[in-house]
Amino acid sequence: MTSVVSSIEACIPALRRYASVLVRDRQDVDDLVHDCLVRALDQLHTRREEGDLRAWMFAIMHNLFISRARRLKMSGHSEPFDTIADDGPGVQAGQDSHMERRDVMRALKSLPEDQRTVLVLVAVEGLPYAEVARVIGVPVGTIMSRLSRARERLRRSMQGEDVGRPALRRVK
């Protein structure tokens, strides 16, 4: 039990990262992580031993986020998550690394929620595609197409292209 608890504790930074991709407000981030930890402790006994603990906790958080979003929708709140960042065009190449980090975050936040979650779980957290599919609850093929769209959109956004219009599909 104690070792599992310390493994859960080790997941907290990753959970905060993922929560910050799902919701914007800092208080909402901490609330989501808190609820996720409480639920994880409650459901610990139902967890199968195999499988990545971190992916299991991401899945709990994702489900909490989905039901929260549904609740807000039902009560008439509009979710602000997908508001496009207000800043002007992206900065051209040749920027320093600080600018680059700020820009990449801004560009990430301008992605639709289903794309930025996949991109962060894959690129930042390094989860295998099958685990990402389990966390989000969609087939691996859907994960791959979201990943592809997220990367391309982020690339164009970083190059300062207008991403407001859907990009032409690349035909190979």
């Binding site: 608890v5 859960i8 504790e9 907290i12 930074p13 905060r16 990262r17 910050s20 901490d30 992580v33 808190h34 930890l37 409480v38 402790l41 409650d42 690394s97 680059e100 980090r101 700020r102 990449v104 975050m105 990430l108 991109l119 962060v120 894959v122 690129a123 930042v124 390094g126 295998p128 595609y129 791959m144 990943l147 592809s148 990367r151 391309e152 982020l154 690339r155 970083m158 190979k172």
Partner: protein, 263 residues
């Protein structure tokens, strides 16, 4: 170029960036990229993206963890919840057995309206009382335990009901004495103070309340000071000390078993 059946698709490019390819497939992708500068550009851009994202998240991670996310606290809170519900089951069984059982609410039912307000004032008064008087080495009480009968008679008169200091000697708490307390509404309440062999002080606050108010046991804390309180038969009870919850539970149980006659 590429062998038949080994066409490199979009998924392969991503798996290459994310390092999810077997070595042979990886080689095949590298050959493909060498022959397709456009794809190679994209792969380089995606890899740079990944590095920039990781660096950006690493920058944001520096702030400290809020107390609400302290896992050992969450674990402890969870154990307390579970212990409390087990205790209420036990209490329900005991009350059923003696055939009384007037007025215990089921655990988990949130207190509402007047019950909740009554509990709130009881908790505040008891916590403040303990913090002020238990810290006073010389004058924590007005009437010492050596005048136990006088203390009981005096407080019974002032509170207009039969009051006696609970006997906690069997579980290691010796009565020091008691004092009269004023409530914020101009009423009278009582404090009995105890000490254990380690000289830790424990306060028991009794506060008359409207006869129809009821509350199951609730817990609260203020820094190191913990509190258990409940309302029963028109009397609010609070046990306060800088001691673990489990210890306060033990004392509260003892008081309920050996409760002074109410009314």
């Amino acid at each position: 170029m590429t062998m038949p059946g080994s066409q490199i698709g979009e998924d392969d490019l991503h798996a290459y960036i994310d390092d999810h390819l077997a070595p042979s497939r990886r080689l095949a992708v590298e050959r493909h990229l060498a022959a397709d500068p456009e794809a190679a550009d994209r792969v380089r851009a995606y890899a740079a993206q990944r590095d920039a994202l990781r660096a950006a998240f690493a920058m944001e991670a520096s702030d400290t963890l809020p107390a609400a996310l302290n896992l050992s606290r969450l674990v402890e809170a969870r154990l307390t919840r579970r212990r409390a519900s087990l205790r209420m089951v036990a209490a329900g069984v005991a009350l059923f057995a003696i055939g009384g059982g007037a007025g215990w609410l089921a655990r988990g039912v949130p207190l509402e309206g007047r019950d909740a307000m009554a509990m709130s004032v009881l908790k505040q008064q008891a916590m403040a009382t303990h913090i002020v008087y238990a810290a006073d080495r010389r004058h924590p009480i007005e009437v010492p335990a050596t005048e136990r009968d006088h203390l009981a008679q005096w407080l019974s008169n002032r509170l207009d009901r039969h009051i006696a200091p609970p006997d906690l000697a069997m579980i290691g708490y010796h009565l020091i004495g008691g004092r009269l307390l004023a409530t914020e509404r101009g009423g009278a309440a009582a404090l009995f103070m105890y000490e254990n062999d380690a000289h830790a002080r424990l306060s028991v606050v009794l506060r008359p309340m409207a006869a129809n108010l009821q509350s199951p046991q609730v817990e609260a804390s203020n820094g190191p000071v913990n509190l258990c309180a409940w309302i029963r038969n028109g009397l609010g009870y609070a046990v306060v000390a800088a001691l673990p919850d489990s210890e306060l539970d033990r004392v509260s149980e003892r008081i309920r078993v050996k409760r002074p006659p109410a009314g």
